[in-house]
Symmetry: C2
Subunit: 337 residues, 2 copies
């Protein structure tokens, strides 16, 4: 087993949650890197909420997963063998290593990391990676909050949302977070410093929005969609900006999403903007320069949720994400650091 | 009667189409203008598709119509008495004169017109007014078509859509219009010069979009919403721009609007932007400078649909709009030019 590479291959497309029956586990010899390639031992597999969409027949922001192939996955690993100058063994790298223990990739497909002393390694695949960049550009480049404006963040205690809340606070805006359950709401108010939190499970979200945003809503960092988004859209101000980060309420049903309040975009001359990290890679340095000092100073609050059980834990990780049981971005640990 | 001002007052909010039973007709003496005011004899009442929304309890882009008051209306008239220097009797003016034959307004609430010889007067309340400005800014400032890109316009034979098609063609883009019925489609292709027209009543809109937009859709001038919008969104390219002008398919049911394809905004990093003419009044001169020469040269194709029957025709006008029976922007003629 130690000399084999365990892989999970998608063999059937789930219609609801992904389950063991949708995969075939294979074990192959650890591959050898060819010219221009490196062998990476995968350490962390990142499980984003949108991973479920990759399994659908319809393309998402990635091309649809090919059946029979190793399931796509966002990984952090360490170079073990290298045919690429500059990617020496021992270098930590981000890549698309898939649901497997080892992967071979061309050097150009990997992003070498320079972990800062005192910053936990896992942050470079979460808070200081896609999570941070998504929150940073969604807030700074799409929502563009002005001092005194009101920003609403949904899935506010989530992996991206909690960072978006804290980044929005740095702009002088009033920040309201919507999250599921009193514990998450308490954390948002007491730890993350939002001005108000709404437990969407606790009842009248519309009334709470009216209380916490009496002057209306100027921008929205939207992760969820569904009925709560409609209540938010009903309260936007003229020229509101809605950063459409994701619509997690729909991911188990094929990624379709309904809204009843679209007319508000016309009535309020508002903008709803989808955005993808891949269009903002030029902002990675700005994000790191803003957020890494906040991590080192201890002022940025975050959770990283690591399941230790190896590839076998990945379905559990997806279930935690879809039920909101995770606290912060969800990683599966595939091997030692 | 000649010395009375007939007025239509909304007394009940329609739940479906507006009908005679929702109004009370009153007749009052023709009002006298006070200091700083003028008396206007209304000549044309413009009936936009969104007028139905003004009658709802919920605010639209206008505050909700107050029950018992004269119904709001967009008018073109002529000054008959004036206490405002510069607005001499005989001056044609645009204003919000309401569903009535005469109105008094402060000078600042009126826009004096300078009709060009050879341009029909009614165009200054339609093609060269809100219709033209909406089409102009929706195409030029929101869709921003590049040469060779594909633009889809819905309600393409309509009052705004047909102008949007022709303005988009001037940018060098490929333009596809969606309209209801073979006659409108023929007019779009043969007269307005679009590259393809789709009759949404004739069947498989998705297949027709695939045929006419084989490289995908780069921008959308959206007037309708509903299932056709979903089919369009399913085919947008990365960074597509959707100019959300209106969602006419929803106006008789309270202005709510559903879409199932919102996730495409995330997948394609696309922008959906509501826009209102009132935010673009600074573009009125640019619009006029572009479109009035096209009218004078006879190169701009348009219909203006004028009902001659006075205020009594307004409900018929609204019905024509909601069923798509109108050809071009709908006016009701209230009196002689």
């Amino acid at each position: 087993m130690a000399n084999l590479n365990q892989q999970w291959r998608l063999i059937a497309r789930p219609t609801d949650e992904a389950g063991r029956e949708h995969f075939r586990i294979t074990e192959e010899p650890i591959p050898e890197p060819g010219p221009g390639e490196v062998l990476v031992r995968n350490i962390y597999l990142f499980v984003p909420p949108s991973m479920r969409l990759w399994m659908n027949e319809k393309d998402s922001y990635f091309p649809a997963q090919v059946l029979g192939e190793v399931m796509m996955g966002i990984t952090l690993g360490v170079v073990e063998k290298s045919n690429v100058p500059g990617l020496e063994p021992g270098t930590y790298v981000n890549g698309m290593g898939g649901w497997q223990q080892w992967s071979v990739a061309p050097g150009a497909a990997l992003q070498p990391l320079a972990p800062h002393p005192g910053v936990p390694l896992e942050l470079y695949r979460t808070v200081l990676d896609v999570q941070g960049l998504t929150a940073f550009v969604g807030v700074m480049d799409v929502c563009k909050p002005q001092p005194g404006e009101t920003v609403v963040v949904t899935a506010a205690a989530g992996s991206v949302g909690s960072l978006a809340c804290q980044l929005a606070k740095t702009t002088g805006a009033r920040v309201i977070g919507v999250a599921g359950g009193p514990e998450k709401c308490r954390w948002l108010v007491e730890e993350c410093g939002v001005d108000g939190a709404i437990d969407y499970r606790a009842g009248d979200v519309g009334k709470r929005l009216d209380e916490l945003a009496p002057k209306g809503i100027d921008s929205v960092f939207e992760n969820v969609g569904g009925p709560v988004m409609d209540l938010i859209l009903d309260r936007i101000n003229d020229r509101a900006r809605i950063a459409l980060c994701g619509l997690v309420s729909s991911y188990n049903t094929g990624g379709t999403q309904s809204t009843m309040s679209l007319m508000q975009l016309v009535n309020r001359a508002a903008v709803m903007q989808g955005f993808l990290c891949k269009d903002y890679l030029h902002r990675y340095g700005d994000m790191l320069a803003t957020m890494q000092p906040m991590v080192l100073a201890g002022t940025l609050k975050y959770h990283v949720d690591i399941l230790e059980g190896g590839l076998e834990s990945t379905l559990e990780a997806m279930h935690r994400i879809s039920t909101g049981a995770n606290q912060g971005p969800q990683l599966v640990k595939l091997g030692p650091v």
